[in-house]
């Protein structure tokens, strides 16, 4: 194995171990908060994966809901109780449902890519909302999952947190390896100049489709994990505002650091919870302002504070570069 791969695995493993250890000392409310931050963060990680190829999805709610509902159905209809199996079911279902759209979406960019992903997620929302079998706008509940056959009652919060940390930790490590890989670098080049990449002989469409499906798997797992943490699912999982929140975290984090995505997700969860408690009707205001500040002053996201060190070019050179950029 390559040195960088080993480093990534070890660093990731260390973070997972530290988080697990910390979890032993965390109160229930914090465990729940962290679990939600992780289960939402992994969906935003998918958004970031796509952003690295230059497209922004406003419809990750689609895979989030697909994963959640699939896991919920598998749990309730087929009596599958194991948490890990349910997470896998969520991820796989999201990918399967996304497959037909992948070649289609790979031909779009910019606003139209965003709008098409939005439309697809709203179609699912519309279907779920009116679906009596799936509980309509109320959705439905699922019971507590089991782990390796054992019940988790009594320690549910910690176990769910632990599952989130380990599973998403593994996915995060894998995503980081992918980002550092040859394909990852080609994706970044596509983001900068896809014409050139086509002319170098690589398929841009296939790259975007691949990123889309990877993001689908991540989103599906996130949806299933959220389902397990909440014990409940409803159509709002697929609503555009949910998708918007995933994009929000992705922009906040930037596309240079996997860890930044989860840090950003955690910040958002904390602000949301605390402002709901103490200053209701301000958390969206705070988030909106925060987003503007980041877009304006930290356009590469929070992650760029530590992951993207580069000397800023002199303004004159940048201006020339901007003018010469094609498209």
């Amino acid at each position: 194995m390559h040195a960088t791969t080993v480093r990534t695995v070890l660093a990731g493993g260390l973070v997972v171990a530290l988080l697990l250890a910390a979890g032993l000392a965390m109160p229930d409310w914090l465990l729940f908060l962290a679990t939600m931050a992780i289960s939402h963060g992994v969906v935003s990680l998918g958004v970031v994966v796509m952003m690295r190829a230059g497209v922004v999805s406003f419809g990750q709610g689609f895979v989030f809901a697909a994963g959640g509902y699939a896991a919920a159905l598998v749990a309730n209809q087929w009596g599958v109780g194991d948490a890990l199996l349910l997470l896998l079911a969520g991820g796989v279902a999201a990918v399967v449902l996304s497959l037909p759209f992948a070649p289609l979406l790979a031909r779009y960019r910019g606003i139209f890519f965003a709008m098409l992903t939005l439309a697809i997620s709203m179609v699912l929302y519309g279907i779920l909302l009116k679906s009596v079998a799936l509980g309509g706008s109320d959705g439905f509940n699922v019971g507590r999952p089991t782990l390796f056959g054992a019940s988790i009652d009594g320690r549910a919060n910690f176990v769910l947190y632990g599952i989130a940390v380990v599973v998403v930790g593994l996915l995060a490590i894998a995503t980081r390896i992918y980002g550092d890989s040859v394909r990852g670098l080609v994706s970044l080049a596509i983001r900068e100049n896809e014409l050139r990449v086509e002319y170098l002989g690589a398929s841009v469409r296939r790259a975007i489709a691949a990123n889309y499906l990877i993001a689908a798997f991540l989103g599906g797992v996130g949806g299933a994990l959220t389902l397990l943490a909440l014990g409940h699912i409803d159509p709002m999982f697929s609503y555009w505002t949910t998708s918007g929140e995933f994009v929000f975290v992705a922009i906040l984090a930037g596309h240079h650091s996997v860890l930044a995505v989860f840090v950003a997700s955690f910040i958002v969860e904390v602000v949301r919870s605390f402002s709901n408690l103490y200053f209701p009707s301000t958390w969206q205001l705070a988030m909106g302002v925060f987003l503007l500040v980041v877009i304006r002053f930290l356009p590469r996201g929070l992650g760029s504070l530590w992951a993207d060190r580069r000397p800023r070019a002199a303004p004159a050179v940048e201006a020339v570069a901007m003018k010469e950029a094609v498209r």
Binding site: T4, L185, E198, A321
Partner: protein
């Protein structure tokens, strides 16, 4: 294997009322160095775009290495062995020169890996070697956005060569390059091609470059080829002097 690298017959292309190609016929044997000249809008870049699959001719055929390539996109044609550089260098501006070269090398090798590190020592040294061939090694760690135009041009061409193409099309390689750098740059490119029977087509406005580096010159005007001969003959041609180089105007005055 055909002895003709490129064979175009009866190419026609119009954009509305503008005729960019009117019955263009060219046959280029393997290893030849051909310069395409003509004033702006004469049809040179349209020809390059058609050969590289960016544009589809309205009529006519194009055969590369004996194979019909009309209708194929840039990616397929690149994989067949055709490479091209651009008038305005097409690079990933926010990435370093080395990263750009890594990408070029990766794209040339087939299915890029999902997990092998892009910047592994082996890949880096291969990419650095490629940069060194073009005297670009000193710029390896600099962002392309910070590099001067001539360096970007050379990098653009260097990237086009990573795939070891059989046919190389250069779109105005020395435009935007300072007078002192033009010849060294062309020498570097020619040097990098030494020993490989690469067919080169280059679009040029600088007649000194043309005379020095081309075996053959094809002159375009209004979408048609008005001359197709070795450089001395073409540059002396009356029509070429009137419509391309502008010498005729001065002579009459």
């Amino acid at each position: 294997m055909s002895e003709l690298a490129l064979s175009a017959r009866g190419l026609m292309k119009s954009f509305g009322a503008v005729v960019a190609a009117r019955d263009v016929n060219i046959e280029i044997p393997v290893g030849q160095r051909v310069s395409l000249i003509g004033s702006n809008g004469a049809g040179k870049t349209t020809f390059v775009n058609m050969v590289t699959g960016y544009l589809r001719p309205d009529a006519g055929t194009i055969h590369f290495d004996g194979r019909d390539i009309v209708g194929l996109g840039p990616r397929r044609i690149t994989r067949l062995g055709v490479a091209r550089s651009f008038q305005i260098p097409q690079l990933a501006l926010d990435m370093t020169a080395l990263d750009n070269m890594l990408v070029a090398a990766a794209c040339a090798e087939g299915e890029p890996s999902f997990w092998q590190p892009a910047r592994s020592p082996a890949r880096r040294s291969r990419a650095m070697a490629l940069l060194e061939r073009f005297a670009l090694a000193e710029h390896a760690q600099r962002r392309v956005a910070e590099l001067p135009g001539g360096v970007r041009k050379l990098l653009d061409i260097a990237m086009a060569l990573t795939g070891r193409p059989k046919l190389l099309l250069l779109d105005e390689p020395t435009s935007g390059v300072s007078v002192q750098e033009k010849f060294p740059m062309m020498d570097t490119i020619v040097g990098a091609l030494a020993g490989e029977s690469v067919t080169v087509l280059f679009v040029e406005h600088d007649m000194e470059i043309v005379t020095r580096y081309a075996d053959r010159v094809v002159a375009f005007y209004s979408g048609e080829i008005i001359a197709d001969d070795p450089p001395e003959a073409v540059l002396a041609d009356e029509q070429v002097r009137r419509y391309v180089t502008g010498d005729a105007v001065r002579a009459e005055a």
